[in-house]
Symmetry: D5
Subunit: 127 residues, 10 copies
Amino acid sequence: MPNAALLEVFPTPGAAPIVVEHIAEEFTSVCPKTGHPDFGVITVRFEPRTAREGGTCVELKSLKLYFQSFRAEGIYYEAVTDRIRDDLARLMNPNWLQVRADWRGRGGIRSITRADAGEVPGHLRGA
Amino acid sequence: MPNAALLEVFPTPGAAPIVVEHIAEEFTSVCPKTGHPDFGVITVRFEPRTAREGGTCVELKSLKLYFQSFRAEGIYYEAVTDRIRDDLARLMNPNWLQVRADWRGRGGIRSITRADAGEVPGHLRGA
Amino acid sequence: MPNAALLEVFPTPGAAPIVVEHIAEEFTSVCPKTGHPDFGVITVRFEPRTAREGGTCVELKSLKLYFQSFRAEGIYYEAVTDRIRDDLARLMNPNWLQVRADWRGRGGIRSITRADAGEVPGHLRGA
Amino acid sequence: MPNAALLEVFPTPGAAPIVVEHIAEEFTSVCPKTGHPDFGVITVRFEPRTAREGGTCVELKSLKLYFQSFRAEGIYYEAVTDRIRDDLARLMNPNWLQVRADWRGRGGIRSITRADAGEVPGHLRGA
Amino acid sequence: MPNAALLEVFPTPGAAPIVVEHIAEEFTSVCPKTGHPDFGVITVRFEPRTAREGGTCVELKSLKLYFQSFRAEGIYYEAVTDRIRDDLARLMNPNWLQVRADWRGRGGIRSITRADAGEVPGHLRGA
Amino acid sequence: MPNAALLEVFPTPGAAPIVVEHIAEEFTSVCPKTGHPDFGVITVRFEPRTAREGGTCVELKSLKLYFQSFRAEGIYYEAVTDRIRDDLARLMNPNWLQVRADWRGRGGIRSITRADAGEVPGHLRGA
Amino acid sequence: MPNAALLEVFPTPGAAPIVVEHIAEEFTSVCPKTGHPDFGVITVRFEPRTAREGGTCVELKSLKLYFQSFRAEGIYYEAVTDRIRDDLARLMNPNWLQVRADWRGRGGIRSITRADAGEVPGHLRGA
Amino acid sequence: MPNAALLEVFPTPGAAPIVVEHIAEEFTSVCPKTGHPDFGVITVRFEPRTAREGGTCVELKSLKLYFQSFRAEGIYYEAVTDRIRDDLARLMNPNWLQVRADWRGRGGIRSITRADAGEVPGHLRGA
Amino acid sequence: MPNAALLEVFPTPGAAPIVVEHIAEEFTSVCPKTGHPDFGVITVRFEPRTAREGGTCVELKSLKLYFQSFRAEGIYYEAVTDRIRDDLARLMNPNWLQVRADWRGRGGIRSITRADAGEVPGHLRGA
Amino acid sequence: MPNAALLEVFPTPGAAPIVVEHIAEEFTSVCPKTGHPDFGVITVRFEPRTAREGGTCVELKSLKLYFQSFRAEGIYYEAVTDRIRDDLARLMNPNWLQVRADWRGRGGIRSITRADAGEVPGHLRGA
């Protein structure tokens, strides 16, 4: 089941702002209603606090293991997005963070769910 | 015929704003003038009210059945978009909602019809 | 329901062999098991008999109406392909004919069904 | 020759604003200088006035016939765009309207010509 | 774990040869060495025996459940392909059958594994 | 109307066999039934006789003018292909020649018509 | 060598603002350092002054000849963009003008150089 | 190891602002944790100071050698982006500069890291 | 330097013939002439001997390390392909094996080098 | 003007047959009729004689300079292909060689010219 304890961080390397994006193309969880697997692409984009502010960035391998911890979980699309947003925002306390999930869909309808934390720049909202 | 009674909702799962998008790639209705079938892709994008505000999201399978209820309906492009916008806005009372239909077209002309409800963010209008 | 009586022909225009291909990108029928609509692309490829042999070609608008007659029919993938092959082969008695249906699929699996009539050239089989 | 009298309208179906886009992929006219045919894709995007304001939308088949009336016309790229903008703006008196022509080009240079009428939203200008 | 008992068949509908192809885009199993999930696209192509010969075709939903039964299985690439080939060939006893798995890969290398049964037409081998 | 007198040739430049292909992406004629324009891509592929054999190749600008001479002609798909095959085969007397027309289609069905002259290599037939 | 005297104009056809874009996909000049040819795509986008203001547009064939005049010129990427911007801005005195060159690159690095004149709309800058 | 001393500049050629972009598609460094090579595409976009301001642009071949100097370096994604931003900003002192690295990724997750210097135009941030 | 001792095998899992393909998208070596790095995609396709014949397949992680051993090697395109063919053919003694390298190229020319071992099926040669 | 003296060779590195392909994406010559430049992609594919037979391969940089020697030459499409075939076949005396030129075209028609030398494998002819 989703396990935020798997997540690790490292200190933001520099003093100037950066924007980081991780795109996990092999995410899978289980639909709690039908028991069938769901497949999606999870994109996480964030601006960490700088080194001076004690900022941190999520470590890549730990993020992979965290995503794998959803593999057997029965959980809805919207809850996946919310959960990842909350776990990562709590972990890094970034300036802002966006989570987007592109689901492969079922029965001819595919879905995209998005969740933001902090002050996402205006032109990136809903993108 | 289009049947909004098929639509069901579930409560928005979280407290922070999310944006949801459903893309139905197999929509079909009938042209009221010629009797020939029309084919299109319907995209619905919305920001539901949050859990605290009693917000709701449309349930995916019910949305599929609702779209299927247009299959034998004679209805114009613009009226399809209007109808879906009105039915979904009434159902969920979201912060904002966009409907976009990309029609395969006829006689060398393909069309896109769009309808908005509520305060759609400026940079998403007409997109 | 599928209605081969809608099909019309016109005489092959020339004396030398030709190969004709029609690609119907908006085919839809109904799954007899679930009642949900199926969507696919139907490709028909054939070599008509020549003018001298009294050959004929299916007329395009009649082919469209014939395909539309499947719209409310509950019929399996393989049976659609078989039915179209049989109806068109009987209609035109061509040198050879191939039918291929590319289905949009369900539950993460999409399918292609193929049916041949007559002596299809070797390098085109299963293509 | 270009004939705006071919154009017909129907009343905007709803009370809320919509945006409509028609993409004619088979436009052809004649270069007045060389006599060779020009080929392009014409995109018309507009926000009609609402039903309450007596708004109208151009009827699709009439638009097709109107575009076909340019087939034998000797007319420059920029004049095509201007002419369509003026004819459609006069016909519908929309809130705003954009015309864009993507020409296949000649001699290694392809061109795009654009013309606007009314208050086109800022982020759509020149798009 | 992989469960061939989930597979069901239905009789080949017609008398003339057909070729069927199923493409499962959401296959996942587990690497027995690392414990990390593998993701791939499984393509199954076959020519069933005809109705007269008592031929059968695998039923689509049962195929989906069969593929899902690999979800928690630790199994190598080549063994997945072999296993599916063997299970389906035993089930349907087709004229010929091909299985192809396109794996998303690891560490910058992606792989394709193929397995055939029966007399696959020459120009389709290794394709 | 189609005018083969516009076609010119030049001598094949070399002694060794060559294969030439011309792809005209802006072909248009008129449907004799509806009066609406048809649009297509015409591909001509041929092996001219060699210089020693007195072989000739069609000159490119003359081919363009020849194709333009179909612009106002009411003529069916299959007849276009036949006519071009006959005119060019007579003009050049090549070892072999293929004509393929990819039509943009009407009402959701697009078509490809092909016509051959002489001994087209086996693996190129119907391609 | 680059020859602005080749450029010709014609009067802007209408009273309302238009935006014109020319995309030359076959531009070539010579690297002054190595003597090797450079290849790129030049895009020119501008809003001419209106007919009432005495506005003019660059004539297409003259633009082609002007671009061809760079063929033997030894000139750096940035200087090409600057030169074209200056020559065309002087020629047409437009409301604004953008030049963008997409170079095929060398040694694994490809470059894009851009130069603006006048008040380019904000959302188009650097695009 | 990364060597900024390899970088050379040339004076900005003109008086009007330009925007330059270099896209290095063959960047490789080494992961300091695993010792495995990382591969990415580095995009550098900047507005140099003008000729009047004594502005300079990085010379292309020197940039290539500078990028090659990372080949054997063990360095994290975020540090690569930071390092390049710092080295190039110090070298050219441009009006603004953006560095973006698109990494091919590992274990199903690919990443994008971005770093800015100076006043990057708002609509280009995070792009 | 290229080190075939890194390569490991595992026994072919089944009795029936299979075809395996590995596509390494991140191959890099060094040009012995210029000292600049070369980048390419290496595809290895082979039919291992069956389990009964004592056949073996190359292990994926060892293949990755083997490819990484070329990273600092000065070696020509054709020699890379030859070397990999020879090392893998000696390792597995397969029924047949193909190596193909798609190089990113230099100075506007990109290259593909291919090397075969054993009886490659005819329709796969040079593909 | 085309200068075969620029071409250099190196000995085929191995004893087993290889197939080499060079794709020059930036070829340009001049149309002898109009004086306008022609642009194309030249593909050369060949099987050199083996090391034992004293086989040679064309050296890549010399091939680039040879192609550049056509830059100012007035020469027809078919003659370019013939000339390159003859020059390279004489240079290397390979087992077989194919030249293919994909021209960007003029006036809506693009062309492909091909020339072979020696015993090109059947399934590669005209491809």
